[in-house]
Symmetry: C2
Amino acid sequence: MKCYSHPVLREVALADVMQALSDPCRIAIVRALAERGELACNEIELDVSKATRSHHFDVLRAAGLIYTRTEGTKCMTSIRETELNKRFPGLLKLVLSAK
Amino acid sequence: MKCYSHPVLREVALADVMQALSDPCRIAIVRALAERGELACNEIELDVSKATRSHHFDVLRAAGLIYTRTEGTKCMTSIRETELNKRFPGLLKLVLSAK
DNA sequence: CCTGTAGTAAGACAATTGTCTAACTACTAC
DNA sequence: GTAGTAGTTAGACAATTGTCTTACTACAGG
C-alpha cells in the first residue's frame, strides 16, 4: 500500500501553490473537493487517463493543497482547508469564487 | 515605439493568472509594483538578464496582471489593481500577504 | 551625428510539464 | 484461487517554459 507524503505547509512557497493551480484539471479537482468534501480520485470527472489523473493528484499533494489517505483500494482525498487558510488566507476562496 | 496589448480581464482564466504567478521572479515584480506603485522595468531588482526580465513582464501583461505604458525610452508599469480586485477578489492580497 | 540608456526580438538551449500506453501492486468479492 | 477495481510506476513523447546571447529599435543628451 502506498504511503503518501505531505509537506509541512510552512515550507511551501506561494509560487509552488500557484504552479500547482496553474492547470485547469487541477483547479477542477480542488473545486470538486471543496464542494463535495473527501473524495476518491475516480469520483472526480476528468478528461484524462488514469495515469495523468494520478499525476495531477501528486502535484496538488506536493504543493500542500490536498491530503490523501488510503482506504482499501481507494485513495481518499480532501483539501487541507484549515492549514491552507492559515498559511495562504484567501487562496481557497479565490479558487472557488473565480468564475 | 512598442504598442503593448492588454487583455480584457473578463477573458482571463484563473489558471492563466496562476500560471503567471508561478515564478518567484514574477511574484517579486508584482510585489514591487504593489508596494511602490508605477515603475519602469529596470527599477525592480531581479537576478536575470534584460531579455528574461522583458519576458516576465510579457507574461504578467498577457495574464492581465499589469498595465504598461511607454514614456520616452522607459516602459512604465503598474498593477491593474481595480480590475483585478473585481475579477479575482483576494488575489492581490494573497500575493502580498503570503510571506 | 554620436553615445548612452531602456527595452524588444530572434534564436538557441536545457529543463520542466502534461499527456499517453503498458505494466505493475494492492485490495475486494466471488 | 480468479476477476475486477483503484491506483501507481516507468518510460516515452511533444509542447511549453525560463534562461541566455546577440542584434535590433527608439529615445535623450551632448
